[in-house]
């Protein structure tokens, strides 16, 4: 089509299309910046269209990996099996001791009239995709609104908080990791219980803000969710302090390393309805 025109007309047309497209995208951007509320339809459609392809590829990759590890790559399996059996014996003894402690804890909590620490329903999910950019810090999981996932549902792994659900389609959801520059969590320090706000930076480390100069903070101290943001349940591990410095103002500059390995996430858990449980301490 383009070759039918003279090179000059063709070139002029290309420049005209270029300018039109650039202006259109700038207009689109400014429109969204002015009105950031609500989900954009185009984004939801894209996520929904990706779902079957991502799910299929994830299943195929896991299938091949399982086949390889379970049936082909069995070098050292016998020795590993024996050492695991030993470990199971040791752990079952330990487990009995922990069970006693847990029951004691339940009794003491009842005495103190405190509620059960994990009263919410949790749904397991598999990470099926990662947004292809360094600034993104987003992953896609294979659970969506059909399974009860909602926007802002907290997402966890065994080590602590992973992030929150940003966008939901029927069978998929996009999760904003805590390292995302737009992410922020209400937190508190484990020992002093000093509240602060933990923000993503786009890098591997997070920033802990609004901790005053007079509050003692130790390197290695664990940072827990405070529940004050109304999204994440109170008392969940988020990260560990790795750097503390005096800030320019009245607040300290604190860097926190996430407890969860956000680069190698495979399985996560989504809290289906955390509201009304452990986030109750927030202001109305």
């Amino acid at each position: 089509m383009s070759s039918e025109l003279s090179p000059r007309v063709n070139g002029e047309r290309t420049v005209a299309v270029l300018i039109a497209l650039l202006v259109l995208q700038l207009a689109l951007l400014s429109l969204q910046i002015e009105k950031p509320s609500g989900t954009i339809l185009f984004r939801s459609w894209t996520l929904a269209a990706q779902a079957p392809v991502l799910s299929l590829s994830s299943q195929a990759a896991h299938g091949i990996s399982d086949l390889w590890h379970r049936y082909v790559w069995l070098v050292g399996a016998r020795a590993e099996n024996e050492s695991l059996r030993d470990a199971v014996n040791r752990l079952s003894l330990l487990n009995k001791a922990y069970e006693q402690s847990r029951l004691e804890n339940v009794r003491l909590r009842r005495l103190l009239a405190l509620s059960d620490p994990l009263p919410f329903e949790v749904l397991g999910a598999r990470v099926t995709g990662r947004a292809p950019s360094f600034l993104a810090n987003l992953v896609t999981i294979d659970r969506g609104s059909r399974q009860g996932v909602r926007v802002d549902s907290p997402v966890l792994s065994g080590e602590g908080i992973v992030g929150r659900v940003l966008l939901v389609s029927a069978d998929q959801a996009q999760v904003q990791l805590i390292s995302n520059p737009d992410a922020a969590i209400g937190v508190m320090l484990e020992h002093s219980r000093t509240p602060g706000v933990l923000s993503g930076t786009g890098d591997m480390l997070l920033e802990l803000n609004y901790i005053g100069d007079t509050n003692p903070v130790a390197v290695g101290e664990v940072v827990l969710s405070s529940g004050l943001d109304g999204i994440f349940p109170k008392g969940m591990s988020v990260g560990r302090v790795v750097e503390v410095a005096r800030g320019k103002g009245v607040f300290q500059e604190i860097r926190v390393e996430p407890l969860v390995d956000l680069i190698h996430l495979e399985e996560v858990a989504v809290i289906l309805d955390p509201k009304g449980h452990e986030t109750s301490s927030r202001m109305p």
């Binding site: 290309t14 270029l18 947004a131 360094f134 600034l135 786009g202």
Partner: protein
């Protein structure tokens, strides 16, 4: 038909990038969408490549959860740079010229995103620029090899036809 192909190939490039990036970290530094845009700019039509750039950019923005337009803007510019430079410079059997064009287009894409972030008052991590540079080098390297292979294939096909 060609517009359906344009849309489907753009969509598949983004999905392939997501799948590959999830399983192999290095694929995060290979910009498949830019290579697809380059294919349209070099072998098809420069004007159509602008639409491919815009479309892959918008799809990428949607996949990243960003406001629509950051990548769209950058990739439209990158498509223009590739199409224009390919015509202007002698690229036949000149791998370094080709490498420079791909790398420049990738850098222009990243820089425009960085600047748009700045204009829209969003903070962009410093790591972005370093990673973008690495992405430009890897994408350009793969692009040179890929398009050299495609040229060879086309040459063989032409010879066979004669």
């Amino acid at each position: 038909m060609k517009y359906i192909f344009l849309a489907v190939s753009s969509f598949l490039a983004i999905v392939a990038q997501m799948i590959a990036g999830e399983n192999f970290v290095l694929f995060n530094f290979l910009d498949l969408a830019l290579l697809l845009t380059a294919y349209w700019a070099i072998y098809r039509s420069r004007t159509q490549s602008l639409f491919v750039g815009a479309l892959t950019g918008l799809l990428l923005d949607a996949a990243l959860g960003w406001h629509l337009g950051y990548n769209g803007f950058g990739r439209t510019l990158a498509a223009f740079v590739i199409g224009h430079s390919w015509k202007r410079f002698n690229t036949a059997d000149q791998p370094w010229v080709r490498f420079s064009i791909f790398a420049a287009a990738s850098c222009i894409n990243s820089m425009s995103i960085y600047l748009l972030f700045w204009f829209m008052q969003r903070t962009a991590s410093g790591i972005f620029l370093g990673a973008s540079l690495l992405q430009a080098v890897i994408t350009a390297g793969v692009g040179v090899a890929l398009f050299a292979a495609m040229d060879t294939y086309r040459r063989i096909q032409t010879d066979r036809a004669h």
